[in-house]
């Protein structure tokens, strides 16, 4: 028995995290995950701030899935104070959200391909991803951290030229991504490294409470919160799922979700064309408590909020999917024959560490110290 530390800085990890792998010969037996490097205290900073300042903080919970955080934040407040946003804004939100989902899934896939030493496919994926990044920049004005949402709608409208551009670029994108998926599906080397590795069976999904694509790859389609979202119901959303539960299935679920997202964007654009009116309503925020859930790119994200009249945040709790998926990682290790597979399995759950760390207490020398907030 020996331990191999991975991280906090490691070529495969995008973010600081320490994994201590317990090895029996070549085979990993157990993993200990050490977090706490990215703790910034976002929930604590948000207390006492106006929600239009808080929405920019919510955006920076995670850089990859920044849009879905603002969307959930805004929808939670709209749910509490019973604001109905215009149809145009609803479809624009879905379009931007799905574009970001594509970009997130593609980067997850690229990182996975890098971790199984398949650099070519990773480069193809990164190149295709640039098309989506261009679309996002065109719609909102920034590639990442778009600040596109406000409470009561979205910031800016799109015009006819932009819509044509989106249709054109989507056609181009779909053609290329289909090729790449075919290469991934039929590639013999990829199959060797990813099929039957890191299996998470159906009954263990229930035990670990894994969410998102990890859960859907093991045969639980109803875990997708888009099924319960009004706009997605209108767009006739169908969840993607598989039953194998291995690394290959997880990546294929992501790839197929990309295609589903492309379909959703096209449909939302069609619906958007028929709408007329403003993109933002006059929103008077009323106080209260509320919970709102949405399907982020890695699983369900929950916002629990308490706000006052006029929109000052009193208390906020954010629950992000990666913690549950990291818990599931320990079960996947049972079917990892080597250390290299352990690393690729880790990337296959698409962890996002900056999402997970927002606890209020820091443990130092065995004592729990409540962390006060300092002011500039």
């Amino acid at each position: 028995m020996s331990t191999v530390p991975i991280g906090p800085i490691h070529p495969v990890l995008k973010e600081p995290l320490r994994i201590k792998l317990v090895l029996d010969g070549e085979k990993p037996v157990d993993a200990e995950i050490e977090m706490g490097y990215v703790h910034r205290g976002i929930e604590k900073i948000m207390e006492g701030k106006h929600c239009h300042k808080g929405i920019h903080l919510a955006e920076r919970v995670c850089g990859i899935c920044s849009y879905i955080h603002t969307m959930t934040f805004a929808e939670c407040i709209e749910h509490i104070s019973k604001i109905e946003i215009p149809d145009k804004a609803r479809y624009l939100r879905v379009i931007t959200c799905e574009l970001e989902r594509i970009h997130s899934h593609l980067i997850a896939s690229a990182v996975y391909n890098l971790s199984i030493e398949h650099e070519t496919l990773a480069m193809w994926l990164l190149n295709v991803r640039e098309i989506v990044m261009d679309l996002m920049e065109m719609i909102s004005g920034n590639r990442i951290n778009m600040s596109y949402n406000v409470i009561g709608g979205v910031r800016r409208d799109i015009n006819r030229e932009m819509m044509d551009e989106i249709y054109k670029k989507l056609d181009e994108f779909e053609e290329e991504i289909k090729n790449i998926i075919e290469v991934f599906e039929t590639g013999p080397l990829i199959a060797l490294r990813s099929k039957d590795i890191g299996i998470l069976p159906y009954h263990e999904v229930m035990r670990t409470r894994a969410v998102g694509p990890v859960c859907r790859a093991s045969g639980l389609p109803e875990s997708d919160w888009r099924l319960r979202h009004a706009t997605y119901q209108e767009l006739d959303f169908k969840p993607v799922w598989r039953t194998e539960g291995d690394n290959f299935a997880r990546m294929m679920v992501r790839h197929e979700e990309v295609l589903e997202s492309v379909r959703l964007i096209r449909k939302a654009l069609e619906y958007y064309e028929e709408c007329s009116g403003d993109i933002r309503v006059k929103a008077e925020i009323k106080g209260g408590k509320g919970v709102w859930k949405n399907e982020a790119h890695r699983g369900e994200v929950t916002y629990k909020m308490e706000i006052t009249d006029g929109g000052i945040i009193k208390r906020i709790m954010i629950r992000t999917p990666t913690v549950m998926n990291l818990e599931a990682y320990k079960y996947m290790l049972k079917t990892c024959p080597t250390v290299a597979d352990a690393v690729s399995t880790y990337t296959s759950i698409d962890p996002c560490i900056s999402c997970t760390e927002r606890s209020i207490y820091i443990v130092k020398d065995g004592k729990e110290i409540p962390v006060g907030v300092k002011h500039p």
Partner: protein, 398 residues
Amino acid sequence: MASSLWYLYEFARRKWIKRFINAKSDKSSYIPPERYRKVPPIVKYPERCISCEGCKESCPAFAVEMIYSEEFQKNIPLIDEGSCIACANCVEMCPTGVLEIDKHRIETEGLFFDKPKYNNLLIDDEVCVHCGNCERACPINVIERKEGRYVINMSQCISCKECINACPIEDAIIVVDEKTLKEKIEKAFEIKTKKIMGKLEVKEVIKEVPHIVDSICLTCGLCKDVCVGEIDLNKKVIVNCVKCGFCIDVCPTTAIRTHKEIVPKRKDICYMVDEDMCIGCRICQKVCGSGAIKISKETKLPYIIPDLCVRGGACARECPVGAIKIVKPEEAEKAVKVRIIEDKIIETIEKDLISFTKKYGKVKEEIEKLSIKKLKEELRKKVYEENKRIMKKKRELQ
């Protein structure tokens, strides 16, 4: 080996090589699109700036500072490149459209934006004298008179603090900043956890039951969280109080209180009615919110009591002939002294008179009552005697 050959074949079959060459020569990627938000926003029209500090208030990253500019003779925002996160809050906050970030301002002009601020301003209705100075001072007209009291529209206020400068009373417009809110939330959380754990020591700290001032209540519910008794926030009343004083400690706006006095900011000047010019219309008395103007009994003209006056200036503004003037407080007191003494004398005389008349009436009644009795008795006696005399005469005649 075979598999790598397969990948090579795939690579050639899909015309990837051509696409890769195209991707590298794709120059459009280096030119940002029209909507790209540059960092930081540009101060495009500095001559329009009113130095309201709205941009500074709305910035979530504390990137804006107001620096005095010699060229324009006023404070102009300077945005720190290192802190700016390109969120465009300042652009939408600016009431005169000074700032610009690509084409954001032009595209979002006229759309509703709930303006976020570091300092929130609220008018305390308990000490407000309704002088209307704040409404006049507001540069963007967000203070309105609703049902006889002035209210700041919280979603549109830019927190420039012009109203605080114009207000004659101290602490009549309350400033709630994020820092105090955060501290109070923290404090309330601590007390709440203690309360749930059953470790809270409840002592009687305050003497009387506090009340909630409706106009400055944020309905944050912190008082309800820490209250040992019962608070109804919908009706804004304290139902059941044990006088522990926790709610007063945690209220961020001091909306829960027992007592607050009206303290004027300035005591070095005072208003005085010029009696030679006054026409006696009594508009000033109706306008005054602090009850400092009274009508003299002697001359039937108004005069201002310096002790009650808050120096709001509403009377001087509303006077149709300009008879109310600013003087030194000693002068005003001297002039008003006579009127006050006169009024007092007249009042005392009137009081005395009333009491005298009341007493006189009583005496009269008594006299009347007494006299009627005597008359009746006398009458009875006379009648009796007369009867007697008649009886005597009858007997003599018989």
